[in-house]
Amino acid sequence: ALEKTDWVFPSFRENGVYIALGHPPHMILQYWSGDERGLRTTEDKNIFPVCIPVASHLPHAVGAAMAAKYRGDKIVVAAYFGDGGTSKGDFHEALNFAGVFRLPVIFICQNNQWAISVPRERQTASRTIAQKAIAYGFHGLQVDGNDIFAVYRATKEALDRAKGGEGPTLIECFTYRVSDHTTADDASRYRKKEEVDGWKTKDPLLRLRLYMEKKGLWTAEYQKEVELKAKAEVDKAEKEAESIAHPDPRDMFTYTYAALSQRLQREVKDF
């Protein structure tokens, strides 16, 4: 639903957004394998580097929206975050700013019900996350986060509202984190297998396939073709990521300030 001129502020669980917007997949692997260059997205798109400190990027999205509004640019800013992020002060401050200044920004909460080991009920006593929008004076809605069409439509409508000068929207995408938080996490410590298994059948890809099957748009041949294509893309990304030359250690000096300070010059010289 987003356009290339729109600005996107992702948290750390937005690989899908990156790929959908055409960010080279090998750069995602490059960043997560410890190379900053993977965050330097290509010049034709406006994807901010992923935000690691939870929800602290939401004020940036608000600032970009203020800037766009000031310049009269007809763009929208989209910010992604999780259910855990809604507990942070920056969530409140950012949504409050967005409401006060009626900004062209949409807040997309991927409510996957688990912030590492802490369930959604421990993040808020609100019945939904969407209802928090009411307090900020703008539109909020909850959608089935595993329904591709529902998410697309909610996003598109929010973008259109923002472009039409109708201000921000909070979209709560109700979904589930089927995997562990990271490869270092063991989710069996805090949740039951049955709960996870129950959600596995609701996988948005499976649901999309079911829908397409019913519409006669899905064949075994098509599945094979799609899977092969996806595998080839992943293989290509992996290969590309692995073939990238080691970063120049001097980069850490080069990119701290626009120019090297006296001390940094000395540090580079002695490096």
Binding site: L39, P59, H60, G63, E93, A258, Q262, R263
Partner: protein, 320 residues
Amino acid sequence: MTKLNMVQAINLALREEMQRDKDVLILGEDVGRDGGVFRVTEGLLDRFGPERVVDTPLAESAIVGAAIGMASYGLKPIAEIQFLGFIYPAMDQISNHSSRLRSRSRGRYTCPLVIRAPYGAGIKAPEHHSESCEALFCHMPGIKVVMPSSPYYAKGLLISSIRDPDPVLFLESTRLYRLLKEDVPEGEYVVPLEKARVVQEGKDVTIISWGFMLHRVLQAVEGFDAEVIDLMTLNPLDEETIYGSVKKTGRIVIVNEEPKTGSFGSELSASIAEDMMLFLKSPVMRVSAYDTVLPLPRLEEYYMPSVEKIRKSIADAMRY
């Protein structure tokens, strides 16, 4: 030429830069209709309108965070934090984001913003209105920390800060705001960042200071053949000017109004000891505030380095 105090000089710098470049805008608490609690932004709302002088909700993290978003979008925001003691909610934004954006995006995004904040004791303000914690920010690579000591330098340094391609924390001494007036030219002039200034030359001892403390230093050096350095930019440091003076005098007294432990004076002292040991004739002295919680106004004068305390340290360095 007009004689201006520091409030007026900073106001003039803001006005001229906003006139010159429509990407420059101001955001913060009470900066618009009220003209700021110290009146630094007075008249700017009328001149430039509410789109460019933005009264924000009362939220320091979002003020700085929004400024980061604006700066990365291509604007030149100047965020005002009402008092330095209230900057702590924004530390995450300053340290984790503004300072790192250029590096972590490998130059794809930059963060050319200025954060202005009044600092320091000496105006009988309530609790949390008198902090001096510049060292915290000097410990954040990617940030520049600028602390002017007079109206003329405040204007020139602020213009440089606004035009700088990196985030600048611009700390204004509340004590200095209306303490003195000096000739401040209208129109453009810049005082470069990352450059210290030799305020007066001397042979026997070098006193390094910044912000309001410089004025106490200038009183304290009477009778000594002292070189006085106004640091102006704390980080990145102008090692060249400082080390040049160490070579010349061999005695160093650093005067600042932070608590001593972990102060920027400590960093200066360590640098001089590490790099210039063989030129030293006496230990590097630090005259700082005490390692206590900052007292309320009735005790603040006991807390801040006095002229007498500075004089005593200079005399100790001379006698060593």
